[in-house]
Symmetry: C2
Subunit: 381 residues, 2 copies
């Protein structure tokens, strides 16, 4: 290896929540091996790691050793990899596993893995003995820039994704950027959709930076830590102002109303579509829909799609392997989303790159016409 496995610089993003719930996000290479001291500093006797088979095989042993070196009793609960574990059955298995490890109220749950593990372990921690503290150790780019920060935890219900859950903030997030070295290209790309999203929501300068620097994020240059820190700062700022999504936090769902519908329509089958790919298509759709409504210049929508495509991400409904049904099917899949309120569809739309806004009460007919047009449009456009 010519690349050093650790860099001296660890970046820290502080999330200044009230009520004693403020926490730090640390971002740097090698943090898994030094996690013990950071976790032990939070107090407690026991730290129970929740992970999946894939991530656990790579990192759970090292994390456990670090925790034990710091004097903590450590145990491991392992689930099957993939979205299927974010279910009622997966939740029951994690809770029972933590109880079997005798996790008590003062102890800690440590989520080691991607978004699925973080959401699942976080929800188990939120509800085990009516709430124990937890630490996020996200190992995917998606989890490092998005799901590990902000306290949304939960599982899927048969009727839809993330319909069951709790707001439960972590006490610490350790984003070991060296862990991303073991991700597949496809997983990196999927996470990158969420990175680009932060520029598209409210930071045109960050989107410019992404266009110039995205390759460094993928290859593991210092751009990686810089990007993760930028995303976490952006998310932390939104979450601090609107923790429970009564308002602007909904902006973080840019691309997600379409994206979640596509995930539903492909049966949450990662062989067909992973979350970040759904988000990438959703981002492109949100901008094209905004352009169609006359809110945003068509060339801005084009610039969004071009950049996502350059990074290897899908940007069209036609790119969904096996297809995603017709406009009505997509609309029905969107209607079960949490963001439905009193039956009206709420979208995040944009007046340009970095100028997104919440649009409640979008007309269903307008969406249907847009989707029909998209489904018949030339896939190369």
């Amino acid at each position: 290896m010519t690349e050093p496995s650790t860099r001296p610089e660890t970046l820290t993003v502080h999330v200044p929540l009230d009520g004693g719930r403020a926490y730090d996000i640390r971002i740097g290479r090698g943090l898994i091996d030094t996690a013990g001291d950071a976790v032990a500093a939070l107090g407690g006797r026991r730290a129970a790691i929740v992970t999946d088979e894939t991530v656990g095989a790579l990192y759970a042993g090292r994390l456990r050793e670090s925790l034990e070196r710091a004097g903590l009793q450590a145990g491991i609960v392992t689930v099957a990899p993939g979205e299927g574990s974010k279910s009622y059955a997966g939740y029951a298995a994690v809770c029972d596993g933590l109880l079997a490890l005798k996790v008590e109220r003062g102890d800690l749950v440590v989520a080691l893995g991607g978004g699925v593990v973080g959401d699942l372990a976080g929800f188990a921690a939120a509800t085990l003995r009516r709430g124990v503290r937890f630490v996020q150790v996200p190992t995917s780019l998606l989890a490092q820039v998005d799901s590990s920060v902000g306290g949304k935890t939960g599982i899927n219900a048969p009727l839809g994704k993330n319909l069951i859950g709790a707001f439960h903030q972590p006490r610490l997030v350790l984003a070991d950027t060296a862990a991303l070295d073991t991700l597949s290209e496809r997983e990196m790309r999927a996470g990158y959709a969420e990175v680009a999203k932060y520029g598209l929501i409210a930071d045109p300068g960050f989107f410019d930076w992404c266009e110039a620097n995205w390759r460094g994020i993928f290859s593991g240059g210092p751009e990686r830590e810089a990007a993760v820190a930028s995303c976490c700062r952006a998310k932390a700022a939104v979450v601090t102002r609107d923790e429970r999504e009564d308002g602007e936090r909904a902006l973080l769902n840019l691309g997600h109303t379409f994206g979640h519908a596509l995930e539903r329509l492909t049966g949450y089958d990662p062989a067909r579509l992973v979350h970040g790919e759904g988000v990438a298509i959703g981002l492109a759709l949100a901008f094209r829909f905004s352009a169609r409504l006359g809110l945003c210049a068509g060339q801005e929508a084009g610039r969004v799609a071009n950049h996502l495509a350059l990074a290897g991400l899908p940007t069209r409904l036609q790119a969904v392997p096996g297809g995603c049904g017709d406009a009505d099917a997509i609309l029905d899949a969107m209607a079960q989303d949490k963001k439905v309120r009193d039956g009206a569809l709420t979208f995040i739309l944009a007046r340009g790159i970095g100028q997104s806004f919440i649009a409640p009460g979008v007309d269903r007919t307008e969406v249907a016409a847009f989707l029909r047009n998209e489904l018949t449009a030339d896939a190369d456009v």
Copy 2:
């Protein structure tokens, strides 16, 4: 019926929690039939009733009509009666039922039933779409004086009772005391153990009053509303000062460390032991254990047991149908309780009636010797 089905007086106990979470407990005859206006005043389009087959057959139709008269869309989710529904499977069924009724973030869940329904529906409400509001309509004495107030919600895990849950305060509690007319004598007695508990914890005057007036609570005289209101006031005061049980709220567990262990050892089989019976034995044990430790006069312990027995409640381990195992079995069953912290046993003990206190770190050997003595003592003592 010579007894009027409604009395003009409805008593109100206010629970002054912060953060916009203050709520009222209303206590009176006939509140189910007038619930609609009270629930509609909270806002929202839809109210989903969660109930069990037994209570639902008696009251769900009337409650639904009242909600609909007030302009709410009402639906009903029904579970099997009994502690078995407070399970992972019961939780999933209630959540999926509420989602099928299209309960959205601004809507309300209405728990209609005893402690099982309130705990289960409250936990589903706490976690459905990461939290929707809920109303408690408790129909058992136990639920009216204890479980419907204070925001503890949850389910049982195979490893123990109430090990999974959330703190989620109701927006309103409607305790219809006429609903108690349909309870069996055994259910009334079980609830009465929790009534007497409030006197034993911190209010010797209320225990005196109970000794003089308990028959009126059972027969449905005005003593019933007075007792429910006294208990709710006492609980509300404790919960307001210590919502998340960091301290004095643990006093409400007087009798429960023993009681929960007995419930575990009888397999949560209501044919053998219901919660309130476990609590009654636990209250008597807590006072006799306190007397044995020299903390409390023996005649105080005798007075407690005598009163509970007069009300028809069990007060000895020997009264558990089918037995409850030996001292070690009881100790092991207690060790899995939530109130274990860093492995030490925490008990609520008493220096006399109305003088309970939290005793952390009670010596296991001391408890074992006490239990062995209890198990060999003459059951008539």
